[in-house]
């Protein structure tokens, strides 16, 4: 089962994880990554009031679906879930949930890890943060390129 979604409204990540685990009783292991909005960001203070993610419909969802297919081709999974919020979020809100179910935990760990590295660095999302009532765009981080290099896949 592959489930890839762009989500416009706040969602409950724990409920999603419960449903995903129940849907894969044959999987001994489920690895999940939950990314949530922080009130602080690196070197920028801890006063984030809101976060907005923009996407470009003709590219963003197809890109996530292609990533899911890539992941499924690399590891033996019973199921893969990739949910990503778009729009405006508050600190504490879930941004991204990736879950991988497999017989052997090694596959699920590697798949979730790979999916996150590629989602962060190759997916078409543009992020801005609101501080003191002012919105500012978040620039790319060098760390993301380093993470991709682990998989031998720097494309830029």
């Amino acid at each position: 089962m592959i489930e890839v979604r762009l989500i416009e409204q706040a969602f409950d990540a724990a409920d999603a994880m419960r449903d995903f685990a129940v849907a894969h009783p044959q999987s001994g292991g489920v690895v999940s990554f939950l990314g949530q909005v922080r009130a602080d960001s690196p070197g920028q203070g801890d006063d984030v009031e809101a976060l907005e993610l923009q996407h470009y419909a003709p590219l963003t969802l197809p890109g996530m679906q292609a990533l899911a297919q890539d992941v499924l081709g690399r590891w033996a999974l019973d199921g893969l879930l990739i949910w990503h919020r778009v729009g405006e979020m508050a600190p504490g809100d879930p941004i991204v949930l990736v879950a991988a179910a497999s017989r052997h935990r090694r596959d699920a760990f590697a798949a979730a890890d790979f999916a996150m590295d590629h989602l962060k660095s190759e997916s078409w999302f543009w992020k801005r943060e609101k501080r003191g009532g002012q919105w500012a765009w978040v620039e790319p981080r060098e760390q993301d390129y380093a993470d991709l290099a682990r998989w031998g896949q720097i494309e830029d």
Binding site: S41, L59, K120, W124, W126
Partner: protein, 78 residues
């Protein structure tokens, strides 16, 4: 019928809006009609282009009526 430019991320702020209608034609000619600082941002080395939803190379691009050309700055880290 017009073509459409779509600006993502900070490019939309520079353009003063997420979209702009332009007359069809070679991209170089279309860019020549835009504000200088916007053109500078749109032609940055890390800005990629998508024509009707597919990534394309910049050189020699010509827009026909109904085309949508998106300018994609680097995605955000984090």
């Amino acid at each position: 019928m017009m073509a459409r430019l779509v600006f993502l991320g900070r490019l939309a702020d520079l353009a003063g809006g997420a979209e702009r209608e332009v007359a069809p034609g070679p991209l170089a000619a279309i860019l020549a009609g835009l504000e200088v600082d916007l053109v500078q941002a749109l032609t940055g080395a890390r800005v990629r282009l998508a024509l009707n939803g597919a990534l394309v190379a910049r050189d020699g691009l010509v827009l026909v009526a109904g085309d949508e050309l998106a300018f994609l700055p680097p995605v955000s880290g984090g």
